[in-house]
């Protein structure tokens, strides 16, 4: 299977702290790749390395056939990587509509625009004129996903999308991810909610202490109790 995103042996630091110690990952198109692991093992750092917020000091990241590990974040995003960040990071001084419009800044053509995003999340059409700071957690998550889709990305990076959401909203999120996968989008999903991650993932990797200690079929994680207790704490 041809990988859309290949991360090869990257090492990423925050100042002197060596967070990612040789992480590799393959994310094929049309599939959800889950990244699992306990708190503080480097999952968010991996996302930050891919989007260029915290570039790796060594190693390679190849996206859509070209290396991206030395590019500026805005150039990486324009190549077709959409980010749904941890904590959602909705712009409070922008309306819902403006939050979505700025997501379209890369001006890539495709199925997603204001209309189709409103069709996916009708609630956002009702809230279009509200400011980002006035939204509920679930609405913020819709804006974060819609904002990333507006760029018509090939790959969506989702960092803890279920964090802080009510169970009912998490179910909706699950359905949304399935629908997005059906459209052909590739998703790299960092998630603490194991049932959610395993229910949508086509493949999964477990990170522990800055290294990938498992990569394979999500089914194995479901059945291997030792893997779960040792590295996921469940």
């Amino acid at each position: 299977m041809n990988a859309l995103l290949t991360v090869e042996d990257i090492h990423t630091y925050y100042d002197h702290s060596h967070v990612l110690q040789g992480v590799s990952l393959r994310a094929p198109s049309h599939a959800v790749t889950a990244i699992l692991g306990r708190n503080g093992v480097g999952k968010t750092t991996l996302i930050r390395s891919i989007i260029g917020f915290t570039p790796p000091r060594s190693g390679r990241i190849v996206f859509d056939g070209r290396p991206i590990e030395r590019l500026a974040s805005h150039v990486i995003a324009r190549r077709g990587i959409g980010l749904v960040p941890q904590g959602r990071r909705i712009f409070p001084s922008l309306t819902v509509r403006e939050n979505l419009l700025i997501g379209g800044a890369p001006q890539r053509s495709g199925r997603w625009n204001l209309e189709t995003v409103y069709a996916l999340f009708p609630r956002l059409a009702e809230r279009a004129a509200n400011y980002g700071g006035q939204l509920s957690g679930g609405e913020q998550q819709m804006v974060a996903i819609g904002r990333a889709l507006m760029a018509n990305p090939l790959l969506l990076l989702m960092d803890e999308p279920s964090e802080g959401l009510a169970p009912l909203i998490v179910q909706e999120l699950q359905q949304t991810m399935r629908r997005l996968k059906e459209t052909g989008l590739a998703i790299v999903l960092v998630e603490q909610n194991l049932p959610l991650a395993l229910s949508v993932a086509d493949s999964a990797s477990i990170i522990s202490k800055g290294r990938v200690i498992f990569a394979g079929d999500p089914e194995e994680i479901r059945t291997d109790a030792q893997l779960r207790t040792q590295h996921l704490g469940i």
């Binding site: 917020f53 974040s73 960040p85 922008l94 419009l101 997501g103 800044a105 760029a151």
Partner: protein, 285 residues
Amino acid sequence: MQFYIQNALGGLAYGSLLFLIASGLTLIFGLMRIINLAQTSFYLLGAYIGLSLVTHGWNFWLASLAGGIVTMALGLAVYSAFLHRYHADPLTSLLLTLGLTLILDDGILALWGGDPHSISPPAIFAGSLTFGTLVFPVYWLVVIGISFAIAAILFLTLQRTMLGVMIRAAVDDEEMTRGLGVDVNRAFYIVFAAGALIAGLGGLLGGPITSAYPGLDGELTPLAFAVVIVGGMGSLGGALAGSLIIGLVNAFGKALFPELSYFTIFVPVALIMAFRPQGLFGRKL
């Protein structure tokens, strides 16, 4: 009554000039965390360039615009050569712009000499308006009108254009804005250039009110900072409100307590810092 109207109009005119300086100061700080001490030197440089052009027979408005454009070019040169490396580094950028102020001040002294220059408004606005016993220069109203027009353009750009959306987003969360594919550096150049342009063209426009003399920039800087502190850093609406407040306090302070004139503008600053440290329109600190 006449006393109050007279000083209110004078204060508003002076305040609207302050807005031309402080709007750039607050936007540049809000977006790139650069404290541009040279903003008032841009104003003074614009005044001298405009004045030289007027004495060579240029039209007042064209000379003012040209002063703004030359100042903008200089500001952009300094920004792209040095300053762009130090955004989000307030101390280094503060020292850099302080150095720029010193160089500009000495350059102005060398080129135009140390004598103060009074500047006349264009002939059609040179007169005074008289209402009963109330007499004030027509030009005050012109300055207020132009400053409000510039404020309106800035507001519309921020609120209604895609560039404005990008600038507001980057003020909220610069990293995330980059992560969405926005070239934030381009917005930095545009905002810095706009700040220098508006301060620079304000120089000749304000000349009939402030005149032009070495050291004027140093006198205006505390006022411009007072505006930004009162209004809230990064807020354009705050800069407008703060400018008018400081302009009025300054005018009435000078009229009522002349011996305390330079002190009175710091009363609103002290009150704001005690009771609302983020400023009238600033975001919570």
